[in-house]
Symmetry: C2
Subunit: 265 residues, 2 copies
């Protein structure tokens, strides 16, 4: 089965290579920035750069739409797909209906839609092991759903049928669990650097915190630290130390307040 990619960002980068490793044939890659498409095709065996969004002559059955939510409408407005094709987005936050509505508005042909959301953070330079990545699938068409299941199972051991509302909740939870924690680690690294201290010092502590959290039925219950003890002396002193950084201070206050609330209810 032939597959094309629309978008050549972090998700397309990893997903196309994983599917190729599972013996699917990646036919073409399109990107608004052709040099990105070129870079990705160089990682693939036979894929060609596709210029423009006219895929009417394509032999692909499935088109993976790996563009940001913001760009989705503009891309679909200019898209032409062969009749019978399947268009699948890989976003955590866009509903299946939103995709289908754009397809209904802008595409004349009968196009079936689906969602193929790999629950992972992707960065081009970092290799990922797809087999452990949960893939969240959705389609209103049974044939498409079965096809997505087959595709997903060929690259991952963990596949889930997840509806759009559930996927939104997962995406929101992931923003806290991953994007926001990454930012907190960035702040910690910044605070250490400013005092000529190695971030590496915190590594065992971070790993142990994660281990405890992953083993906990209730992560709030294993909370430690000054906010957990409502130790106002330390809290006020730490807020004082942040007086020159309004952003860090607001984050400190909002999280501390919520931890204290959780423990005094």
């Amino acid at each position: 089965m032939k597959i094309s990619f629309i978008g050549a960002g972090n998700v397309a980068w990893h997903l196309s290579q994983a599917l190729e490793t599972a013996n699917y044939d990646i036919e073409t890659v399109y990107s608004r920035n052709p040099s990105n498409a070129r870079a990705l095709t160089q990682q693939l065996y036979n894929a060609q750069v596709h210029r423009g969004l006219d895929f009417l002559d394509s032999n692909s059955e499935i088109f993976f739409l790996c563009v940001s939510d913001d760009a989705m409408e503009e891309v679909i407005r200019n898209l032409s797909l062969p009749s019978g094709a399947i268009l699948v987005h890989t976003s955590g936050s866009k509903t299946l209906n939103e995709l289908q509505e754009l397809v209904d508005v802008y595409l004349d042909e009968t196009i079936r839609t689906g969602v193929f959301y790999p629950l992972q953070t992707f960065t081009k330079m970092f290799h990922v092991n797809f087999s452990e990545i949960p893939i969240c699938l959705e389609s209103s068409n049974l044939d498409v759903e079965n096809l997505l299941i087959t595709l997903a199972q060929s690259i991952s051991d963990v596949t889930y049928a997840v509806n759009s509302e559930e996927r939104k909740s997962i995406h929101l939870a992931a923003v806290y669990a991953c994007n926001f924690t990454n930012h907190l680690w960035g702040i910690a690294q910044d605070l250490m650097k400013k005092n000529d201290l190695e971030f590496k010092l915190l590594e065992p502590l971070i790993k142990e915190t994660l281990r405890k959290a992953l083993e906990s039925e209730d992560i709030f219950a294993v909370q430690t630290g000054p906010a957990r003890r409502n130790d106002q002396k330390i809290i006020q002193r730490q807020i004082g130390a942040l007086k020159n950084n309004t952003g860090y201070k607001k984050i400190y206050e909002s999280i501390t307040e919520d931890i204290i609330d959780k423990n005094t209810i």
Copy 2:
């Protein structure tokens, strides 16, 4: 060498057992709550519960003060130690001077002081591998410092001489990197549970986020997600989904704002 513990909380629990494993003799354990002291002595070979804070007859050379910063003054006010004893606190946020001043005010005997801060989160039920835990040491007395180094090296491969200002910075960084991230994972778990979704789904994503952060010279540079892209549609929709939880919403807004600021400067 004999050692006594004042306090029987999470730090005393793990540190006393690690020192005993390294062949130090834990003589007594005091706790304001004697049943806590009892529970800890049951984990140790010969340690006795010490009732009250009069240690004048003790044979211990070192006394580990493992109480919360808030309780420190009250404990030292009632403390009697044999002349020549060494009193060491294990706190990340209390300076050596603050400890020395309390000792000067409340204790008649010549007591030397030091800091022995294991940079780790401790929970009684969770076994920790001390050998990887960085231990931050401080003393104004060379003999005490050397003794603390010997003690630290007997249980850990990673020991650092760190002054009080540096230790405060480490502690603040650790609050972000560990206490606060734990809370964010708690929120993610809560959001998943509310939608009958397993938190385990997020595990590969969390582990990958951590792996990338630990490998990054600049953690802010590997940031992903809607705030990093300043994707206001998703951001506003997610804030909307949090309208019933002011605490989560404030945290979302404060971190998102800081990520956007970092990427638009």
